[in-house]
């Protein structure tokens, strides 16, 4: 089975910025693939090159075995797109908007059915300008789905949404996949990637820095657990590194984040170290390592506010 999406050696430079710098990706049929990275990593540039909206400086793109240069119209019929920022016409109603988009495709879903599937039927006759952020995003995804695409491209589908709206969108993506669809999405929410994606590519400065299933990537971290703590006064970095089993230390808010193999070993040691320094523990929390921690360990920066 050939890849549904593949690109080789993709490059796109803007004056002074290497937005995409030699990227190879391939997405299999039926897969949900996540493109993860901080702001300015090149996610949007990459996905828009794949969508045939931006032309790369160099590199080849193939979608469903077709190329943008030769098969643009055919491809447009078979993919669905939600851009990072599109403001649909505010004065039109939800239904009018969806019916308009439906008219562009030779075949596709019935707008009424789609609105019901996406729980937008209550807003059938509401103006787009009066929708909440979550409803607007669902309408954007509805416009992407209305042509019954084989491949769905979503650029930051849940950024800025409340947890409930986010769950609703994840549900929509999962139902699309159950019907055999392939998805490429970008996000800077690790949780989203972990929940939705079969494989993720972590990009930074237009480079691929890690690729694999979420579980594999996390397994690459030698330490599976993360402790975040603050103390008064703050400990020296050397004192933290000296703790047995400490695999990495990063500054975190007013305190430290350390990655360890075993919590049972590390926590008592940490408390001992704090006492030895004559300091007082202010807060301490632990969690299992996530993709976020992988990003931190790879780049030394945090993902969200990098």
């Amino acid at each position: 089975m050939p890849d549904v999406i593949s690109c080789r050696n993709l490059r796109k430079y803007y004056s002074g910025v290497k937005a995409v710098d030699g990227l190879d990706l391939s997405v299999e049929n039926g897969e949900c693939f996540g493109l993860l990275g901080p702001n300015g990593a090149g996610k949007t540039t990459t996905i828009e090159i794949l969508e045939g909206l931006t032309s790369p400086d160099s590199g080849d793109v193939e979608i469903l075995g077709l190329t943008w240069r030769k098969n643009e119209r055919q491809l447009r019929e078979r993919i669905g797109i939600s851009l990072q920022e599109t403001q649909l016409t505010e004065k039109l109603t939800v239904f009018e908007t969806l019916r308009l988009f439906r008219s562009f495709y030779r075949s596709g879903a019935d707008p009424e059915d789609l609105l019901r599937d996406l729980s937008l039927d209550e807003k059938h006759d509401a103006r787009v300008g009066k929708l909440s952020g979550g409803q607007r995003q669902r309408l954007a995804v509805a416009c992407a789905l209305v042509g019954n695409p084989d491949v769905l491209f979503l650029d930051e589908p849940t950024t800025g949404l409340d947890p409930q709206s986010r769950l609703q969108l994840w549900d929509i993506v999962q139902r699309f996949r159950q019907k055999g669809g392939t998805v490429l999405l970008t996000t800077h929410y690790m949780e989203e990637a972990q929940r939705l994606c079969d494989r993720v590519a972590i990009v930074d400065h237009g480079h691929l820095i890690a690729l694999g299933t979420p579980a594999d990537l996390i397994a690459k971290l030698q330490a599976r657990n993360v402790i975040e703590f603050t103390s008064e006064p703050r400990l020296e970095q050397e004192a933290v590194q000296a703790i047995d089993g400490c695999a990495g230390v990063t500054a975190h808010r007013d305190g430290w984040q350390i990655r360890v193999h075993s919590l049972a070993e590390a926590v008592p040691q940490l408390i001992g170290a704090v006492e030895r320094q004559g300091a007082k523990l202010v807060s301490l929390s632990t969690h299992e390592a996530t993709l976020e921690d992988l990003f931190v360990s790879l780049t030394g920066r945090e993902l969200r506010d990098a």
Binding site: E51, T86, K91, R99, L100, R102, F104, Y105
Partner: protein, 354 residues
């Protein structure tokens, strides 16, 4: 199972959503319909035909003053008043009266009348003539040739007859350019254009739909303005309505083409507004909307004549006032069509979808 939604061709969907969008935009409705009507109403009343004002003149108080006053009152163009000598001289000096009628000082007792006036004042000479006629007739002069007056008040020659076609032209320019320019720049800025080209939509469908929905508004817009001029000011369309409609559509589309070109690359509403004003300003000033461009020097008139708004205004006036047919406005129609087609083609070529 509920009824399946009927899906119409994209060009129809695009045109109908575009029309609905416009209908729901109250400000746009005002600028297309409200503003030109208010402007026409205001200007129409300011310049409406009034019976000519009577010219105020002074009769210096004296023995014959009352008799003269009675004679002068018979003239339909004079407004005589009796004043004493000093008052009358002051009134003349200040321009409150145009003519002063006195008795001759040196030949006291005789009936010599003295007309005192400033010959550079345009109404003074006619006032003098009218006053003299009235006084001579009263004194017993008989006209040797019989004469009769025929007042002309021809529909088609009044200022409002000049103005309404000019306003129609100006409105077609404004709405034609704005409806294209604003919509396109706005859709580009909101990434709506980018979203649309990410679908299988044909790019020409999008632009053709804009032209199609424009046609609907164009017809409504023309009907409203022409009907308004006709009903309120009696500005009749002397030529054929069909020719007028054809001219308005060609003219309207010429400006849509120019609007498309103007907005073909602009990335913001501000940029497009600036460009539009830059293009429309010379035409507001030169194309004879409010006043004839005949006063411009002969050397620039050929350029003024091929500006799209001048072409449209000239042809509109020819059809509305002078009942011109297609042959008489063929030149204007032709050049307008060239403007529309050339700007549309260039605009489409350099169009930026993102």
């Amino acid at each position: 199972m509920p009824e399946k939604t009927r899906i119409r061709p994209p060009i129809i969907e695009l045109a109908s959503t575009r029309t609905k969008e416009f209908l729901r935009e109250k400000e746009a409705m005002f600028w297309v319909f409200g503003f030109p009507l208010i402007l026409a109403l205001a200007l129409g009343f300011a310049f409406r035909e009034k019976p000519p004002d009577r010219v105020p003149i002074a009769v210096v108080a004296g023995p014959n003053a009352q008799q003269r006053l009675a004679a002068l009152r018979k003239s339909s163009t004079l407004l005589p008043r009796v004043m004493n000598e000093q008052e009358a001289r002051d009134a003349l000096r200040r321009g409150k009266v145009s003519l002063l009628i006195a008795e001759s000082a040196e030949s006291a007792g005789s009936d010599t009348i003295v007309y005192r006036f400033d010959a550079t004042r345009p109404d003074a000479l006619s006032a003098r003539q009218a006053a003299d006629d009235a006084l001579q007739t009263a004194a017993g002069r008989r006209d040797v040739v019989v004469s009769r007056e025929e007042r002309v008040h021809e529909q088609g020659a009044r200022y409002i007859d000049f103005l309404i076609p000019g306003l129609l032209g100006m409105n077609l320019m404004g709405t034609g350019m704005w409806s294209m320019g604003f919509t396109i720049a706005n859709a580009r800025m909101k990434k709506l254009l980018k979203r649309l080209v990410a679908t299988p939509m044909r790019k020409t469908d999008y632009l053709m739909a804009m032209f199609l929905s424009r046609l609907i508004w164009l017809i409504v817009e023309i009907s409203v303005l022409v009907a308004f001029g006709w009903i309120v000011f009696g500005v009749r369309v002397n030529g054929s309505i069909v020719v007028l409609a054809l001219l308005c559509i060609v003219g309207g589309y010429a400006f849509s083409g120019i609007g498309l070109l103007t907005a073909s690359r602009a990335k913001s509403i501000e940029a497009v507004s600036g460009l539009m004003n830059l293009i429309m300003m010379p035409m507001w000033l030169c194309s004879g909307v409010f006043f004839s461009y005949e006063r411009f020097p002969d050397s620039v008139k050929p350029f003024i004549r091929i500006l799209p708004l001048t072409l449209l205004n000239d042809a509109l006036r020819a059809v509305i006032n002078d009942a011109a047919g297609i042959p008489q406005i063929a030149f204007q129609l032709g050049i307008l069509a060239v403007w529309g087609i050339v700007t549309f083609v260039i605009g489409l070529k350099i169009f930026r979808w993102q």
